[in-house]
Subunit: 348 residues, 2 copies
Amino acid sequence: MGTGMDDPAAAKPTLRDVALAAGVHIATASRALSGSKTRPVNPRTAAAVRQAAAKIGYVPDQVARSLRTHRTRAIGVLIPDMSNPVMPPLVSGAEQVLAQHGYTTLFADTDNDHAAETQRLAAFLSWRAAGLILATARRDQPLAPEVVNSGVPLVLMSRKLDATPVPSATIDESVGIAQALDYLISLGHRRIAYIGVPTWTSAGYERLMAFREITRDRGLDLPPDFAVVCEGYAERDGEAALTALLARPDRPTAVLSGNDMMALGCYDAIRRAELRCPADVSVVGYNDMPLTHRVDPPLTTVRVPYFDLGRQAATLLVEVLNDRGSMNRSVRLTPRLLVRNSTAPASA
Amino acid sequence: MGTGMDDPAAAKPTLRDVALAAGVHIATASRALSGSKTRPVNPRTAAAVRQAAAKIGYVPDQVARSLRTHRTRAIGVLIPDMSNPVMPPLVSGAEQVLAQHGYTTLFADTDNDHAAETQRLAAFLSWRAAGLILATARRDQPLAPEVVNSGVPLVLMSRKLDATPVPSATIDESVGIAQALDYLISLGHRRIAYIGVPTWTSAGYERLMAFREITRDRGLDLPPDFAVVCEGYAERDGEAALTALLARPDRPTAVLSGNDMMALGCYDAIRRAELRCPADVSVVGYNDMPLTHRVDPPLTTVRVPYFDLGRQAATLLVEVLNDRGSMNRSVRLTPRLLVRNSTAPASA
DNA sequence: TTGAAAGCGATACCAG
DNA sequence: CTGGTATCGCTTTCAA
């Protein structure tokens, strides 16, 4: 522990120092610098104060300011798992907008662990975060009661809740699924399978629902078990699921996958069944993660604007923060099918 | 602006409420909860206080605490560009360790923009961050003077500075380069090219230097322009560089690339030159980004433990924070060559 | 071992 | 338009 608590270099200048240097009262200095709307300051005095502040290198203390005003300019961003390639752009997009509005981003990765989530939320709350952006929501799980009770404004990012109406920035999954399906149908495919991501996220659930609805709508009349939901998000999950399907006599001629990793697992299943992609089986992925254009064959997939989604989530939150009365606006962004070479006309 | 400042739901319980509920003085409550070393508290009283705190759902206010103690438990993490696949694991690793030690992570992505960097650093400083983890360092650029003057402890992550000795967590690039080169040499390659990332990061610079040194060491006697440094990090940079090299009569039979993206660009150059990888030209990448095992051919590359590197950076910083007197310890992690199928014995 | 009181740095009321 | 002053929630010195 050593000597105690003295900073080695600099005792940071405080507002008092600025006031002293400018020859005004500390209260005046405060008003001059924070541009108080209600209390006007003489332009000349204000200029002098600003000059003095600049000269001595004054930086306002957010901590002190927050204590006094009960409003921090910090937003907590909670992420379930950064190794999921959709997460980094979400975080960056949010951070960019938050910074533009003068907010600092508190970041945490829960690694899909409930205890970690509780701990991180408590930390955000103990920092009196002005708002929260959550990418961790599970469809059927209510929000953590501490969060609800705290009354902190929050926005859900990329996922939302079944029951609770909370502002959210999400993707219109049905558009993505529809585009993929219609493209496959236009290629002559009728027996199309869906190898899905887990449905405890709203995104996963909506993809499954959209698949069922749209295939019915288009009159495809698929066996119910052509839509399978996997336990995980990995290549092997996709591989296992498609392997089972390819063993059937009425095997699918095309597969729509809930994400790109599993789509690549489908490649393996196809190869192991001694079939070829796309000649025998077409594959469509979802998300357009990096390098999907370089796999063999280049993956046809649904490109999702995650960076933008992060920006929108932050924008929504800033709106709520600026106007507490505003309703629960949500935004929904549209993905777009990206045709590459893992899809081809139906052969059979 | 409406009514003013009242929280809709809950006036959060403060230490005073805890003290009241436990029937003790606020100072006693403080000591009981923060386990003051110097001022012992009667175990029975302490228990009562803790119980009261739990009962009314007290969460200490970090803001007030920080103001009082002049020590926040917040660490700023500055990232140059989250779309670089090495960054997310760095951030997660750091956040994990920081959270374990009770620190909250302030996150910012500068997008390689100097103005953004200045702004974000100022924000971290105005939050009185207890420390900084920087992944933005450029080899030849001194640290921002505000940072230096602030005296805030900092650690460099994945990159370091030429001149200034600052604690850092980095990779031993020479080991990665040596492993790659020795493997290629063992395959019979003599004419090995290096298609490098920019050298304004220490990592990029050290990779180049290691290439030069080790090839000389092994007696390869390469033309100097077999080591080329690209302007960017993209596939097209690698493609352009290798295209030029393949046009030479003494073209290389193997290429070591400064990152995976550029290695994939090399694939394109090889194909355009109507050669094959690995039959005619072997390629080795660097970083082992996701999906490099699925490209065609699967990329032999140097796997770098970035998540761990993030953990180490945070660990280093926590050490410094716990013991201000500690020397500038740095850590250096070791990468490991991952052999896949983009490398083969030299044909010529 | 506990109570009393000062004060971190800023804002926002109140007078003047 | 500007000066004085209370105060946010907490820690910590000083007394008791």
